[in-house]
Symmetry: C2
Subunit: 205 residues, 2 copies
DNA sequence: ACGCTAGCTGACCGATCGGTCAGAGCCTGT
DNA sequence: ACAGGCTCTGACCGATCGGTCAGCTAGCGT
């Protein structure tokens, strides 16, 4: 696909190579899955040898960790900021906005751990992401949430992750530019989560 | 996990063994992914040898095919039935109902090809499912659909697939019974798809 | 009683997996 | 000019992958 005539390579410094590998690995993890991606594939796609990958990252698992950590950190920061303010329509709307930004910026990372967290349980960064999602769910739905409320949250989360990565592939809307996606996504997610309002008194069934 | 004292096994007939293997394989494919599942794992989980799996199915790919085909057939039938009737609020609502039934009955199959269709491109049953999804999207959104409409469809589809399999795992709502999920799912999906109405005159931007 | 076949298995195959290791090439400080 | 370290690599490792094959066993028709 990318023949790249194997030029004598300008001397890559450590950081840029590491970033290249991270980016390449992320694409593969998100599209073929962690289990389905071999170090050889990552190395080939990035134009390095398998040994090089293992020089920059202690193991395949360590590579996954470094690839996902920035996204998890970001999500954690968003959640903490939301928890630090008292709840109001305004803070909620800001939170949803932050979340949309997060989804758009880290769509591949989100897709990776949304779709593979079950099979990758035990890997620290995955477990960290898992408890974050649960906290997020509990925060939005509060303790006493109806099944429908939880389904709303799940559909919003899983649906966004799917649509922005896999969905684009064969649904129309060829990777529409972010400027077009953002407002549409915001409208749909906001509408989805609207009924999942904060209830100090756990009511309705 | 399932020690199963390796009894001298009552003589399984061909059909029951094949069904067992299909069911076991489906669980693995949906949770660990096709690439991440080895024939050995499937054999072990079902209590047979790897050779037995390959006796019943020509290859790993053939096994995937047999596992997914019933779901694809069903989805195709639902779509054909919808296309055979002229469109109305009633036929649309019946279609959504059929679709919800389909999602609930074939949640593992749906999850498998929703999340892995990109990496399994080229496998006949996956491609078949792919074109079905596109037809489904085109049918519901018609030709001239806004980005938002397509996002609504994608979120509904991907969200439902995620929520009913992976989501249940660590979101609350521990595998709530179908009787409770169905109405909630119906409400959310209907609401999601409501604005994606049929427009004979492609209007609004 | 006999052979045939269906169901199942262990031994084995080449390929590939994640990972180790001993350098080769090159840039830099001295 | 030399030494030392950083980047990168090919050769190699045991394990496991998907898949083949010969053969074992039990049930059945004759």
């Amino acid at each position: 696909m990318t023949p790249e005539p194997v030029l004598p390579q300008p001397p890559h410094n450590r950081q840029s190579t590491s970033l290249e590998l991270r980016a390449t690995a992320l694409e593969q993890f998100a599209s073929v899955g962690f289990a389905g991606t071999s170090l050889q594939q990552i190395a080939d796609a990035a134009g390095y040898s398998k040994s090089s990958v293992l020089y920059h990252f202690a193991s395949k698992e360590a590579l996954l960790d470094e690839v996902l950590t920035p996204a998890v950190d970001r999500l954690e920061a968003i959640l903490e900021r939301f928890l630090a303010t008292e709840e109001s329509a305004l803070s909620r709307s800001r939170f949803v906005n932050d979340f949309i930004d997060f989804i758009l910026e880290f769509r591949l990372e989100l897709h990776t751990f949304i779709n593979q967290s079950q099979s990758l349980r035990g890997i620290p960064v995955i477990d960290r992401a898992g408890v974050l999602i649960v906290r997020l769910s509990d925060t939005l739905c509060h303790g006493a949430a109806s099944t429908e409320d939880r389904i709303r949250f799940g559909i919003a989360l899983g649906g966004a992750a799917y649509t922005l990565v896999a969905g684009m592939t064969f649904l129309g809307a060829e990777i529409a530019p972010a400027e077009e996606i953002r407002p549409a996504l915001l409208a749909v997610i906001t509408e989805l989560l609207a009924p999942v309002t904060v209830r100090t008194t756990p009511s309705r069934k």
